[in-house]
Structures are given as structure tokens and as C-alpha cells.
Symmetry: C2
Subunit: 692 residues, 2 copies
């Protein structure tokens, strides 16, 4: 994968950002409480008001599975991507009715189908807790620091979370310069309203993923229920029937997952030379394995599609990220960015004394991480088998809930339990054959990486093969049954101790080494890294303040940009595609096969209807499903991807090349009307548009 020269420009430009002032580019995933409205006004002649921002914040939602979405009607209707509900659609399918393949439309409220493990969060309040964290961790370092920080976070979250309908999270911004408490309204009764056929949701498949021109209806609607009734949503976005024009200002409101734009060079080198090449090989192998597994038959293919889809997607993401770091000129620009920051710090002796040694502390933690990573990555995080992870959650949940809240593993803190149990009690079917394959693979990889003579491996496998261990555990377990899991959870430590379930037994055998590996990682790598970054961030913050946006943290952000193509190899890539283009690209063979519904309605469609578009908004993974808005806060698009260049955006934003890819609002409306005959849904969107 080669990368164009111009990617370098951005990072040279980014050095300019060390001096506060308006950034020239449409860069930034801004928090709502520090949105650079003035900057937008200067460039685009529109200044979003406080009311505009509050409405956009409350109409935006987060999907706990890693996506974004938005309310688009007063009746709790939420717009998101097909790929954000793909798992749900697969879970409510049966061997007789494959909804991933055929699509789904609920013609009445009663037909809406509950998604077993989907949680929707609405951000209702942000408050600053920096002073509390500073006080709690004052003078501490290493393990003591990490423990104190965890405990204070847990206390703050628990105090905030006065009911299961709330979700509270302490969010670390600017890598520790600011701590904020985010309070969400939590919704767990989420029902599928509409999902198109996979063929059109992901037309072009993996070959076209992260590419443009693109022709995907990667859209879905779900509805949030509250007390068994559709939620009365006070804030929602209206639908723009007109869409956006080239050059028009666009906003994207969503939850970018994670960026690494503040990593030090030592960490970037570690990503480039160790983390990413290893991830690429691991995802590539899993991808091959699942592809081979699908040969077993249509049922195996049906039940592993989502797993394969996510694996391929992850592989391509890591490939793009690796491609960015592996470009020597780009990497050099990142080195220069750090040098410029250090030079800025050095001018202030007090800052310098406190912050410059932190760069070495990061390097030492990275070095320590290299020694501890295999244990952590494989013993603790190496499980692709969802069933095994459920068994482990039961085991650990019993032990952890018996401990004081602030001392628990974070997924068992009171504030996290609703999400943990949603997943654990999900009624989604669990496919034994696939679970056996994944668990066997997981055990094989643990043995491969740590070696057959590693004590943890010997404990885990005994004298048996990974295949036997996986078969015995999966064939003999009762944990595929959600009621059995719920009973064990509710039975607590006594029930767990009494259980002879073989999968639980395996989790029990695996646990001491896994916990030790996690603890070592958290204490010896994560905590010192965090502490060092606190100091660097404090210095950067002292120089720049909130004129700069913080790295993404899967919390709500707003980005601004414009409808705009880019230049690739001397050629212009125009910003819009059309329905007509999709029919031209149709070969009849997957992944370039349009579904029968589209072929049948071809004559009724206007081929010039805009289908997908690109804008210069700065986004990353987690923004999937974000609404794309015009200055009137109307929906003009639905974000579902970035172009291939945007994958380097993890480390920096290139205004010349990085583009957000969205479904045009007109395409969604047209498809609902003319292809799917979803007249009630269209009427609901139009009704809401009129109301707001």
C-alpha cells in the first residue's frame, strides 16, 4: 500500500497548531462544550448557537456496541448504519428466514423486533471532575496512582448513577488534562424497524470497503422503547429532502472511538514495528479460518457472516493505519511534530522540568509493554469465542461483585453492570460449531504464542489438544441458554462454586494467569503511560488550552466540514455518486450484485438520484451511523465510512485527502419509498420533519 506525498503536508501544518489560533483545515473532533463556533463562522459564515448545539447533542445517540446514531422522529425512531445492527439482524434470523440476506421491514409497531444486545445512550449532562481526580491521585505514582484513580472514578460514577436508566462515565480528555463526568440516559429496549438487504447495504463488499466512488445503502432504523412504549423524543433531527450541495457546510455529530494523535514517537514506533504487524497477521489468519469455515455449508456461512465481516473490516482498518505509519515521510512529520512540542515546552522552565522527563517515562513503559504484551494479548484478550467470554463474565462477576465497588475490574463496577449483563443475558442464538472453532483457535494461538511449555498453557490444556478442550467445554456447557446464565449470575459466588459446567470450569482454570497478565499490564504499562501522558498533556494544555480538540474517546463530538471530493493521482474524485452508477457497477455476482428488489424497481428509480457522498469532516471508527447535518440541523446524509486515506487519520488529519463517506439523505428516502414501499416509515420521517 503506497501513500501519497500530500499526507505529509498535514503534519507539517499541524506544527502550526502549536500556536493557538484558528486551524485552516476542517480538522477536529470537537467536544460540544468547546466547539469552535467562531472558527466555523469565519470560514463558512455560520455560527452554531448554543441552542443549535444543545439540540444536536440531545438528538445524537451512542450505540453501546461501538456506533453512533440519531433520533429522527418524535416517536423514538433512530437512524444508524446497517453494519451497526448487522449482528442484531443475524441474531433475529433463523435457518428458514435469513434477514441479513433478505432485509427486514416492520410494517406495524407490533412487527418491530427487539435487538437482543443493543443499547442506546443519550448524553444528557457533562460536568467537570478534574479537581476530584487531582486530589485523589495527588503525589501518587505506579500502582498506587492507578488504584486511586480507578477508585475515585468508581466513586464518582456510582454516586452519579442513581438508577439503571442512567449510565455514568468519567471521561479522560486531553489524556488527563481534564476529567469529565458524562451522564447518559440509557435505553436497552431497542427494536429493529428497517434493514435493507446485505447486498445493497454492503454493495462492493470488502473490495470497495473504505473506497470511493461507492454505492451503499448502509442504513437502518431502530426504535427506542421506554416502559414498553415508543420513546417520546423531545430532541430529534429533521430530514432534509433536498440533501447537500457541493461545497456546502456539513456537521457530523457522533462518537469517534479512539485516535492516537497525541502518542509519542516511542509509542508510534511500537505501533508500527510491533502492534500493527502482529494485528494484521492475526486478523488475516482469522479471516482465512472463517472463510474456510463458510465452505462447510449455507448454515455455517449464514451464522458466521457478521464475524467474518467485522474481521475483514478490522483487517482493512489496521492495514490502512499501518500503511500510514510505514510511510517514512509521514512518520518523519510525526517525529517533527513531537520535536516542535518539546521545543515549545522547553521555553518554559517549570513546564520543562515537569513534562520533558515524561517522554522517557513513556518510552520505558513501551519497553515494558513489549515484554508483557503477549501475556496480556493472549491470556486475557485472546478470546474470540463469545461463549467463553460469557462464562468468564459469570465467573468474574461473582467474585468481583463481592468486592467493594471501587476495587472491582472496571466491567463489573456498578456503572458498567447494565451493559455487561445486557450482553450476558442476550437471547441471541449461540452457534456451538462456530464457538468450538473459535475457542479451539483461541487456545491454539495462546499455545503458539506463549509456547507449549509455558505454565499457563500447561494449566489450560493439560495433556489435551485445543480441539478436545474446546469440544468438551462447548459440547458440555449449559451456558448457551440465556436463562441458565441469568440463574448463575443471580446465584452469585455460591452458584458459581457449585457449578460443574465444563465451560465455566475452563474459565476457572484460565483465570489466575489471565488476571495476573491483566494486572501486570495495567500496573506496569497502562498506569505509567497514563501518568506520563498526564504530564505531557498538562504541558500541551498549558500551551494551547482548549483551542485544540482532545483525542477521540468514544464520546460525543461534533466536526465541521464541507461536501468536497479530492484529487487522486492527478484525477478529480467527484463528491457524489448516483443510483445509476450502482446499476452500472452491478455484475450479478457478489459482492457486486444488487438485490432482486433493486433490479425489479430499476425502472421506477431516477438514475440521477444522489446515492453516496464525501465530505471533509474529520471522523474515525465509532462515527458509523452519525447523522450528517446542514446548518439548519437537517439530516443530509448518514455517515458510514471513511475513504482509505482517512485510516491514517488515527495519527493525524490530512485535509487534502481524508474524507468522510455518507449515504445521501435523498437516497434513503427514495429507496424507502420506491423500492421498499415503506410508506409508514416515510410518513413518520416527513411528519417529524414538519413538526420540528
Amino acid at each position: 500500500m503506497s501513500r501519497p506525498l500530500s499526507l505529509v503536508l498535514l503534519h507539517l501544518a499541524a506544527l502550526g497548531a502549536l500556536a493557538p489560533g484558528p486551524a485552516g483545515a476542517d480538522e477536529g473532533m470537537w467536544t460540544y462544550d468547546a466547539f469552535p463556533s467562531e472558527q466555523v463562522g469565519q470560514k463558512y459564515g455560520f455560527v452554531p448557537s448554543a441552542e443549535w448545539l444543545e439540540n444536536a447533542r440531545l438528538a445524537s445517540v451512542r450505540l453501546a456496541n461501538g456506533c453512533s446514531g440519531s433520533f429522527v422522529s418524535a416517536e423514538g425512531l433512530v437512524l444508524t448504519n446497517h453494519h451497526c445492527v448487522h449482528e442484531c439482524v443475524e441474531e433475529i434470523s433463523t435457518p428458514e428466514r435469513d434477514l441479513v440476506k433478505d432485509g427486514f421491514l416492520a410494517r406495524t409497531r407490533a412487527d418491530e423486533r427487539r435487538c437482543p444486545a443493543l443499547e442506546v445512550n443519550q448524553l444528557v449532562r457533562i460536568s467537570d471532575v478534574t479537581a476530584r481526580l487531582r486530589a485523589a491521585t495527588k503525589g501518587l505514582s505506579g500502582q498506587a496512582f492507578a488504584k486511586a484513580e480507578r477508585a475515585e472514578n468508581a466513586r464518582i460514577e456510582q454516586a452519579c448513577q442513581t438508577s439503571a436508566a442512567l449510565r455514568c462515565e468519567v471521561v479522560t480528555l486531553y489524556r488527563g488534562a481534564i476529567y469529565q463526568l458524562y451522564q447518559y440516559r440509557r435505553y436497552q429496549d431497542v427494536r429493529l424497524v428497517f434493514a435493507p438487504e446485505f447486498r445493497i447495504a454492503f454493495f462492493g463488499g470488502d473490495p470497495d470497503n473504505f473506497m470511493f466512488p461507492r454505492y451503499d445503502l448502509d442504513a437502518a432504523f431502530v426504535r427506542v422503547y421506554d416502559g414498553g412504549e415508543p420513546l417520546q423524543a423531545r430532541n430529534f433531527f429533521r430530514w432534509s429532502p433536498a440533501g447537500a450541495r457541493p461545497g456546502e457546510l456539513t456537521f457530523v455529530s457522533g462518537n469517534p472511538g479512539a485516535t492516537d494523535r497525541d502518542l509519542t514517537v516511542a509509542q508510534l514506533e511500537d505501533q508500527r514495528d510491533a502492534v500493527l504487524p502482529d494485528k494484521l497477521a492475526r486478523y488475516a489468519e482469522l479471516r482465512g479460518l472463517l472463510t474456510g469455515y463458510q465452505l462447510l455449508g449455507p448454515e455455517q456461512a449464514r451464522t458466521s457472516n457478521a464475524e467474518l465481516f467485522y474481521t475483514e473490516n478490522s483487517f482493512k482498518v489496521y492495514r490502512g493505519m499501518y500503511g500510514a505509519l510505514e510511510d517514512r515521510r509521514f512518520f518523519r512529520s510525526l517525529v517533527e511534530r513531537e520535536e516542535a512540542l518539546k521545543a515549545g515546552i522547553a521555553k518554559d522552565p517549570a513546564l520543562a522540568k515537569d513534562s520533558l522527563p515524561a517522554f522517557d517515562q513513556v518510552a520505558r513503559a513501551v519497553e515494558r509493554g513489549r515484554a508483557l504484551r503477549d501475556g496480556y494479548d493472549f491470556l486475557e484478550k485472546g478470546y474470540h469465542s463469545g461463549l467463553f467470554k460469557k462464562a468468564r463474565a459469570l465467573l468474574r462477576g461473582a467474585a468481583e461483585r463481592a468486592r467493594p465497588n471501587e476495587e472491582r475490574l472496571e466491567e463489573f463496577r456498578e456503572s458498567a453492570l447494565p451493559e455487561t449483563t445486557l450482553e450476558l443475558f442476550s437471547e441471541a442464538p449461540i452457534h456451538a460449531q462456530l464457538e468450538k472453532l473459535l475457542l479451539r483457535h483461541d487456545l491454539e494461538k495462546i499455545r503458539e504464542r506463549l509456547g507449549p511449555d509455558h505454565p499457563a498453557v500447561k494449566t489450560l490444556l493439560g495433556r489435551d489438544s485445543p480441539e478436545e478442550v474446546a469440544a468438551r467445554a462447548v459440547d458440555g456447557t449449559k451456558l448457551r441458554d440465556a436463562a441458565a446464565r441469568r440463574a448463575l449470575w443471580e446465584g452469585g459466588a455460591a452458584a458459581i462454586a457449585a457449578s460443574k459446567d465444563p465451560l465455566l470450569a475452563l474459565a476457572r482454570t484460565a483465570d489466575p494467569a489471565a488476571r495476573a497478565a491483566r494486572e501486570a499490564w495495567e500496573d506496569e504499562v497502562k498506569a505509567p503511560l497514563k501518568q506520563a501522558h498526564d504530564r505531557i498533556a498538562a504541558a500541551r494544555f498549558a500551551l494551547l488550552g482548549r483551542s485544540r480538540y482532545p483525542d477521540a474517546t468514544f464520546t460525543l463530538r461534533l466536526s465541521y466540514g464541507a461536501v468536497q471530493g479530492w484529487t487522486e493521482g492527478g484525477k478529480e474524485v467527484p463528491p457524489f455518486t448516483t443510483f445509476g452508477g450502482a446499476f452500472e457497477r452491478h455484475t450479478g455476482r457478489d459482492p457486486f450484485a444488487l438485490p432482486p428488489s433493486w433490479l425489479a424497481r430499476k425502472g421506477q428509480l431516477d438514475p440521477s438520484t444522489p446515492f453516496n457522498l464525501v465530505t471533509s469532516n474529520d471522523i474515525t471508527g465509532g462515527n458509523s451511523g452519525s447523522p450528517m447535518l446542514n446548518r439548519d440541523a437537517q439530516i443530509v446524509g448518514l455517515v458510514f465510512d471513511g475513504n482509505i486515506h482517512s485510516l491514517g487519520g488515527d495519527y493525524g488529519f490530512d485535509p487534502a485527502l481524508n474524507r468522510t463517506v455518507a449515504v445521501d439523505s435523498r437516497a434513503i428516502l427514495e429507496a424507502l419509498s420506491r423500492i421498499y414501499g415503506a410508506s409508514d416509515l416515510v410518513a413518520e420521517l416527513r411528519r417529524s420533519a414538519g413538526k420540528s
Copy 2:
């Protein structure tokens, strides 16, 4: 994968080698005509004589499939590794009789089974042709240089190869400082005599591969026939019943495939940052795919075992190589090695003027290679389907044989035709289902890497999916039949043009773009690299002469060393394992399951029998099957692996850590006698031992 510090030492030590003189370490894969006998004498008190060397050279053989071996009787018996004949054993198996699983022993000559595609080469003559090549390429560069060199090589080889029983190859040593003509006696009638069960040949499987302690009987015997009769071998090695003692001098005579110890830093960076990470991901995916394919059933597993085995082995090799380059301290030592060489060259103005600019020329060719690599790697080299490669050989063979010998693609030069056709006409069964899987995978990866809109991809696939294209070609082809392939080959261009075979048609469709990609690579990358290395090597050669060994070239080399363990993490790894250790490691589950034959005879075996051993000999891939000799040229071991550290040996040799792994001669004899009851074979080995 972390690497120990001490690996760095070697490269710092290697700088010393810039000044001619005896190397302290047992480093080097020496050509027979420049073996440092004096150096060995100084260190070990034994100077191999000219006769010793001539006998060892003629008793050593090369297997054209990438392995080594040796004559061990006057009756044409050849000792090599099981993994060198694994493919043959799989090919002569049937669904009813799986010889990979059960092993094979021919009790009479008549029972010996011909290996369909195994060729044995015996090096009979080396002559210098440097002056001819220099004259032919004088003053030329780029395409013209490459063309002239190819043509002169072809002329020399053709003149030498006066019969199909000879194989002639111009070998480039010291990256162009010396050209030599190697003349081999070629044997294509090679029959399997003995192969043990896969379970003991590869006990410990992939987890133990490249590891030590080790317990593998990775040994096999084949017999070379000449004119339908066992070859009367004049030169062969006698068997040592006593084996070797710790510290004892050992020689390894074999054909190391390729090392990169003379690469420039620009090339090493390219390996580390682009070539190896990409290979790792590609082999990982193929590994996963084959693992998944094996789930289809025992027959699919049986017929894809060898493919999976080679894929896993390659993956581990690349992982080891990547681990070496990714170690920053080690890499720094390689940079320093180059700096020292440049400093040495700079002292001589004439050398400097000619050679120093060549480093930049290498860097430019590497840069060009980055742009051309995907096309070359995928369109030309991206096929794992052996059946597709056969179709392409037929297509190209017809076209190329019509051209003057020196202008042909190298695999169709007269000197190469015997090997090309041996593979092409092989009677080994071809499994349609596996071929379809591989061809589909190949086509998918071509599309993935180059993109669905690349003209070559559009030509290749049209509007069909990779799956359809592969199915149509493989289901419809007659080329699975060896006689059909032979007829097409013999029919030449007219037969090829007239054929409507769908696989041939696919090869025809693919060919223009593949040839163009290959030509671009050879002219714009390979040729300028070679030319630049000629100049660098000339300078290095002027400074050091043949006091240094050349990079490995899959030609016969002799290395010296001693039986010696190493220290790992402060612990001594002793040099020998025993039969008893194998029984201790036995769990009954693959890959740690001993075969029934071993379990049944456990009582008859002496548990203290040495099984595997390690020595400090310097080897690399291609040395598999090499005899390990004592000073009396008796076989004390059979090389089958290197330890994990030895994989970094591609770039440099570390005397503290790099170890050769061999089967002890005593283990082979003991197993033949007591487990396999191979009394005739044992008698033949004893008879020959007495004779020599």
C-alpha cells in the same frame, strides 16, 4: 517476539571481518572451492584434505524441490528429511492408504515407489565464467545489461548441457564478483524407500517447529535409479554408529537456499517495513483458510496436509526473520556494518568512485520496487494453485520454446526444461476441490490488492466472481490428467492455440498483464539492483577476497561447527535430547502424540538413546536433509531445522545463539532396527559403512 541482546554481538563482531583474517566464530556457508581448511585446523586441530572435500562434495546431493541429501550407500540410497519427501508421500497415498499418517517401508526393491516430481542433483564440476559475463555485459546498464546477462547465461548453460542427464547453472557468487558454471548430474527416477509416520517425523508440530529441545525422526530414505537400476554410487558417506560427542567438530554439507547478509540498509528497511509484514499477513490468511478447509472432512484434510505444513513453516520462518529486523539494536548493528564497509571503501579513491554511488542506486531501485511490487507479487507470483501454474507453463512453454534460447523466460531455457517438465508431467494426483479453493483465493487476493477497477483485474474476472471463474476453469479442465498435459506440451504452439480448455483460457487471459508485471520488475528493479550489487560486491571483494563466504545461492556449501547447546534466559540448553524425553512429552494428542509403532516398542528402546542434537553450524533453509559429518566424514546426524534464533541468520550469524538442529545418527539406526524392523535397510547402511 522479543530477541535477546546477544544477537547484537555478532554484527558488531562481523565488522571485524572487514579485515581479512580467521573468523572467531563458526560462521559461514563456504563454497567447496574456497573452504577455510586452515581456519578449521587452527580452531579444531583437523584440516580437511582435498580428497576429503572432493568425496564430501560428490556424496552430497541437492533435491530440486529445495532440499539437500546425501548418498549413504553404494546402491544409490539417499538420506534426507521426511519433510523433504512429504509431498511425495502424500502424492503416492490414496484415500484407502494414508502413508503420511502410517509411514512407508519398502521391504524389497520392487516395493520402492517412484516419487512423481522429485529430482536429485549431484554437483560434478565447477568452472569460472566471470570473464565471459564481464565481456558480455561490458558498458551496459538497465534493460540492456539484464538482457545481455540473461543471454550469456543461457549460452553458457546450453553449451554445457549436452544431455538431459546433466543440469547446468550459472551461479552468481558474492553478488556478481564471481560467476561460476555449476554442472550437475541430474536424476529424475527417485523412489521412496522409507518414511516414518508424520506423527514422529514432526512430533511437536508447529508449536515445536524451530524450537529445541526437540524429538523428531524427521528422516527418510529414497533411492536414485539410473536406467531402471539402482545407481552405483561411487561416493557416499558411511554411517557412524557412535554419533558425536559434546564439543566435537561437525561439518554440514548441503545447499543453503538464500541469505541476505549483503543487503544494503535500504533493502533491509524495505524487508522490515514492507516485504515481511505483508508476507506474514498473506501466509497467515492462507494458513487460516487451509485450517478451515480441513474441517470439511478427513479426505480434504489428508489432501491438504502438505500445503498447510509448508504454509505454517513459511509463516514461522518469516516471523523469525521479521523478529530479527524488528529488533532495533540488531538493526542498528546492521547499519553499522554498512557504515564500516563504506568507510573501508572510501579509503581507496578508485573503489569509492565506482562503488559508493551504487548504494544510492540500490535505494532508487528499492523505491521503484515499492511501486511495482504489488503487480509483480500478485499478477505474476500470486498463484498458489499448482494446477493453474501448470496451465500457465503449457501456455508459456509453447510461446517461449519458439524463441531463441537466450531470449526465453529462464524457466523455459533448455537448461531448465527437464525440471520444468518433471513438475509439469508429474503423475501426482491433483485435487480439484483444493485447487478450486486455492485458485479462488488467488483471484480474490489479486482483486483485493489491485482493486476491482484495475484493468488487469477486469480482464481476468470480467463480470464474474473469483469463485465462478475458479470453478469454471477447474471443473472444465482436462489438465488434471498428466497425459493431456504432455500431449499439449508436445503439440506446441498449434496445440495450445487450438485448445478450448477453460483453465488454459484463463491462463491466456491472465498472461499479458502478468508478463508485463514481470518484465517491469526484472528490468526496473532486479536488473539495476543486481548491477549496483555487482559494484558493491566488487569493492568488498577487493577488500576481503574469498576470505569471506558468499551469500547462500541454493548451491553446495560446507559449514563447520561443533556439538554445542546455548544459554537462554540464563539457563543452559543442553545439546542432546533422548528417546526417553519423547515419551515424557507424549500426551496422546496431536501434535504431541507418538505413533502406535513407538508406543508398542517402548519397552524395547533404550530411553537414553540420543534423539536430536544441536550444533553451532551456520545453515539456512535449503540445508534440510543435509548430512552432519564428523572428521572421518561419517554421518553423525541429519540436519532438519534451525533453532528460532537461527531465523535471524538470514541477515547475520550469531555464534552465541544460532544453532543447527539434527536427528542423531544413532536414533535413526535404532528406530529402523527396533521400531520399524527395517533389517534390510539397516544391513545396507552397515554394509556400506564397512565398504568405504
